[in-house]
Amino acid sequence: MKPESEKYKKLPGRGTRRGRFPITFQYSRLWLGSDHLLMVTSTSWSEVYRRFSFRDIQGFVVRQTAGRRNWNILFGIWAALFALPAIRVEHDTVSNVLWGLAIIPFLALLVNSFRGPTCECQIVTAVQKQFLPSLNRMSVARRVFARVKPHMEQAQGTLTPEEIAARADAWVQAPEAATAMAIREDQDRTGRGLSHYAGQAHLLLFTLLLIESVRAGMDFYFRSTLVTLLAMMTGAAIVIMVIIALVKQQDSAMPGSLRRWTWATFLFVLLLAANGFVHYISLIIQNPDLAHSDAAILQVYVQMAPDESPWMMTSLLLAIFGSGILGGVGLLMVRKFREKRKTPPPLISLDQTPPVSHA
């Protein structure tokens, strides 16, 4: 059998999607084949291919997102941070450098605005729904549809609005629709199946944060080596749990708000760890003769009173309120997620009043 090869044509748009590991990304692009669409997802040294035959594609769903607005706000703040001091600074060189730094985000803001609204696009077939990361702007998605539509019509024919209305009427009574829809929901934005993670690691993490909040409060009234050792163990457990939670929430059906809250918790834990490290170093500098013994440093720390050290007071207040708020709100969010997970999404009747147009 001789190897065959297909001539592909590049389609507009290029996007990224989350990689297998946190903070890693994969590049995605669409290519037009003779009888199928090809989605190529690239890492640095490999490519993954996913083909969608024109005969199998049932539709495209594009949802406009707030990405352009959010990026514009970010670029605007960034530009203002450099532009405002540049107006006030009298030194020419400094002013020029600041203007130079302000113009970069300003240009980015202009380009971002010019490219049009952001969106996420889903391709639908009988057996799967797949996000197309390269179609991340409405204008790009429309250009791609215009390129693909003739091929689709050649493979499947055309549909008039009357035909769509007549055929869709059957759905209202079709009980199997709900089942099929539940099967389709088994895909997420990464293209891999969703895990059945129910939020146990998050539950434990936020519970530990609440315990840490109470423990930090106890430091005002009761300080001992045992309580300090307990605090260190709780801290280590929180660090481990936040990493596990971040890994587990990948490819799960967890809502974005809870994911972001977990990332905020991670940053808070980093802040506390950095604060603890700086405190430890400062204790060693203040007591150089005890530097060789961790136990002696621990004793010095236990004997310190919070009201005598502003640093310790700030750290404890940060631990009490930060852990308390993150833990409490996080627990509520996990509870909501677990409850929602138990109940299937309600089916909304298709014969609702026509929606309001945004165009």
């Binding site: 495209f60 406009q64 769509i164 945004h358």
Partner: protein, 189 residues
């Protein structure tokens, strides 16, 4: 018939009234602006597999894999007779399951490939990134040249791609080797 099209955000079914309007409408569930383009496949019933007919007349050609079934096609790769169940159509060709399997394993059926290694990228990374730390180039420069020579003719991406990365990797790796040779000669001298 398939399930209705649903909103990517809230999974609420989207009313047929908004299909193929060429403009953005609101999702009835979450009010997100959505645009839906659908095609006739959405309303088509799922296709059924051809089970193959039984051989009724003695001496009639039968399937190689199912001797009791009537042959309807021949494999265009190995020439075996195939029943409706065993006939796999791929890119206009009729193939038997074993040819499809061997073609997939040997990488001869591009249509069935889901992943490919990009040796040109790998060679270029091997030839450039270690330069930042200098010393590893002693090992990575020859390795990059080996990758270029070994995989010059290996299948690369299935989308159009030139060999410029291989050329660059060879060029950078050669420069590094020349630099090491020059350094050694300088130290000896």
């Amino acid at each position: 018939m398939s399930a209705p099209i649903t909103c990517p955000k809230c999974n609420a079914p989207l009313a047929a009234a908004i299909y193929n309007r060429g403009q953005v409408d609101s999702c009835p569930g979450c009010r997100s602006p959505v645009q839906v383009e659908v095609f006739p496949a959405l309303f088509s019933p799922p296709g059924s597999a051809q089970p193959g007919e039984h051989v009724l007349v003695p001496g009639e050609s039968s399937c190689f894999f199912h001797p009791q079934k009537k042959a309807v096609e021949t494999c265009q790769s190995c020439g075996r007779f195939l029943c409706g169940l065993c006939d796999l159509e791929l890119h206009g060709k009729h193939l038997c399951p074993s040819c499809v399997e061997s073609g997939q394993t040997k990488g001869q059926l591009e249509r069935l490939e889901t992943q490919r290694m990009l040796y040109d990228n790998l060679a270029l990374i091997t030839a450039t990134i270690p330069v930042l730390v200098v010393w590893p180039t002693l090992a990575t420069a020859p390795l990059a040249i080996f990758l270029v020579v070994r995989h010059w003719n290996s299948p690369s991406s299935i989308i159009p791609r030139t060999k410029i990365r291989f050329v660059l990797a060879f060029f950078f790796a050669s420069l590094q080797i020349l630099a090491w040779i020059a350094l050694v000669l300088f130290l000896i001298a």
